[in-house]
Symmetry: C2
Subunit: 502 residues, 2 copies
Amino acid sequence: MTTDAAYARLTARAARIATIGEAAAMLGWDAAAMMPPGGGPARGDQMAVLAGLAHGLAVAPEVADDLAAAEAAMAADSAADPWHAANLRLLRHGHTRATAVPADLVEAQARANSACEKVWREARRQSDFAMVRPHLAEVVRLVREQAAALAPKLGLTPYDALMDGYQRGIGAADVAPVFAAYEAFLAEALPRAEEIQARRGAPLRPQGPFPEAKQEALCRRLSARAGLEPEHSRLDRSTHPFCGGIPADVRITTRYDEADFAQSLLGVMHETGHALYERGLPAAFARQPVGEAAGMAAHESQSLIVEMQACRSDAYLAWLGPQLLETFGGDPAAYAPANLAGLWRRIGRGFIRVDADEMTYPAHVILRFRLEQALVSGDLPVADLPGAWNEGLQRLLAITPPDDARGCLQDIHWFDGAIGYFPSYTLGAMAAAQLMNAARRDVADLDASLAAGDLSPLVGWLRARVHGMGSLLGFNDLLMAATGKQLDPADFQAHLTSRYLV
Amino acid sequence: MTTDAAYARLTARAARIATIGEAAAMLGWDAAAMMPPGGGPARGDQMAVLAGLAHGLAVAPEVADDLAAAEAAMAADSAADPWHAANLRLLRHGHTRATAVPADLVEAQARANSACEKVWREARRQSDFAMVRPHLAEVVRLVREQAAALAPKLGLTPYDALMDGYQRGIGAADVAPVFAAYEAFLAEALPRAEEIQARRGAPLRPQGPFPEAKQEALCRRLSARAGLEPEHSRLDRSTHPFCGGIPADVRITTRYDEADFAQSLLGVMHETGHALYERGLPAAFARQPVGEAAGMAAHESQSLIVEMQACRSDAYLAWLGPQLLETFGGDPAAYAPANLAGLWRRIGRGFIRVDADEMTYPAHVILRFRLEQALVSGDLPVADLPGAWNEGLQRLLAITPPDDARGCLQDIHWFDGAIGYFPSYTLGAMAAAQLMNAARRDVADLDASLAAGDLSPLVGWLRARVHGMGSLLGFNDLLMAATGKQLDPADFQAHLTSRYLV
């Protein structure tokens, strides 16, 4: 434990900034889950004022001096605690990011993103790329400026400087070969999996309606059983399900379809994975950067290990089937574990990323990863995006979107200025498979516990190896410590092989 | 419209402070209506940080210079807009209040109030005044220091300086004769009203259970019908019903008792009155002090004019009865307007303020008004409070609490440091009667519209005379402009006479 005064001032400031961020997180949840529409404009002002206050604290002139003094003290302290050392590095990193981009560029980006996103909604509705093209061009122009400002300060390439904003510790040079390997795997695996699936025939579909109240009660029960404590969490509804709030008070949301309970049930387990990560972060470093989750890819690994690895496993489905039958009634055959597997592990080539199965999902991400690098480098002019999109999807999945609404207009990310985020989805999926393999190795009878509907051995392992590690390690180092190797797509491919190719 | 630069800086700062206050208001609502218990400690930190940021902006050194410059410019401007002139006076007033009390006293009060309030909960449970006495003594000591710091700066007596924090524009010297007159009225009216009521016999009690979902749907319908727009409001549950949020996004709460729908229904109409006030505040002065509600007594007048004056009127009950019968079913006689009047306009002497009827409620307030003045002046030592309470209640209502839990321990206010607030309740009740009289004079067929379940003519009148006036006028001036006279207890007494004594 360091007692350096400069470091103490920095951590007090970080806690203050993080506490403002907590208020903003709660208001963000409220905006999505509770707020009546008339509250929107005022909420926008509230968020902007809080962001401005936090930014002002982060870039105050005295921070640079404190950082230098604390770094000198830490360097001179041969017994420096690695957590505090990492925290100081992250404080420096955050300060570098916060001060690298001029305030007028930040403001111009906020305006351009907001304007573009509004037009995008209409452009997607009308499937009219030309309508949003000039706005997207402006967004991309400003993102390139932002990346150019960040890159030299961070010692990263411009694209990696953007990725770093979502997931520290992994860059395009790490990701590209992993994705290339997956592309090769997919080219062979997908047709075989489709053939196997076709031979099996269609699964039975449970017959609804499935009353919302029953779905909700079930979701609450399964989420609590997975370890999410009701005294530290809420489950509500929102158009786009998400996990928000703060570690002591996590707010997850879902939506209900009375014709199909799978969306809410699997969605809630996905968000429960995110929520358990937040709950398990190291409390001793709450409101410090080293106490935060390790990044978006790490976060996605936690939602996917619960949803995809655990809850869609044969073992868990064997336990879940009877629960579903008891909850909803109907034809028992529809709730047989093998039938549930047929329903919930169905693969197929589609245009829409968010509807994709776990095997084809990475193809959507690989496409976007390549296109956004080309947008940032300037190799791909915005005007050429629809064509490049369609060519890319054809190459990866051998399908071509019938229109841009089902092509390059489908996701909000780029139109909202979020470039560098997409890889996190697939890095998370791969990390989830790799972590699950390691957990199976380390935890005796992991599948037996899943077959009893008990996630606690898995969650306990994740708590020690991932949740409780906060941001002590970067993405690859976290995987190395937990699994003995850096990100390795082989585990994910092995998972898909055993699930879809045998 | 003034274009003075100093004034512009002050209003920009005020808007920023108010926006932080909006964030805090939303988080306060969330804490009461949504937050799981585990979120409590972090929420406390969030509220403290937001309060600290707002306070820091309010007392920044440059504000004093800007105030002086803006006041000089306003004084030199013969065509100064009265709204901006009032706004500047209120900005000065707020600055005086914010800077009058030393920061270490503010902090000591926050700590003492919080500690006392915690002990009070247990002391009330055990009806043990001695347990909380030293804590209350400390709270009172600090409140006296606060009042002594505020009084000379505001040019008010110490007690009035505290009252001013809740309701500007009226002081103890105005209130004392009004309350004395009421005490005299009550001494004669209460026995007569009790006698009349006894002759009538007991009303029929509608037989439940009344399902929560039905109660909630009815509450939503009646609240919306009274003018509260769902696109700018929410109705939720909380242990202690309240009206929170912000003008564009009002959040009201209630609680449901399946054995009795009156609590939720009348409670929601009460909160709807508060909410309509917030909704009707002058949008052109949003986030400026002159655009805020005129004070707690003014606010209470708006909840009570809706709940007590309108919704418990013969006219409205005549419309409501059939709605209730249709909603809940059962014996039609229980929903006859005269029976509802018998149920919901029942008077009686009791120990508990929050359960009191509208005739005896002021007695509870008068008692507290006198005791809190004596606490602030030092005439009443805290140790003598239970005895003084019991003597006072005996004098006012001729009853003596069997224990302190039903005596001086019943309300949180003093134990939480809120001294000077109690008069607002009865000032609001009196103002509500006075405003209703004026509305009846100004609005043709007001009772006919109530008999059609239509509050819009009343609410429209209130919007023009009260809601839309913001804080342009002080309490008495607001009443003068709306009703042609300052606060006059005669209207309230006439209301009670016509409702209970004929």
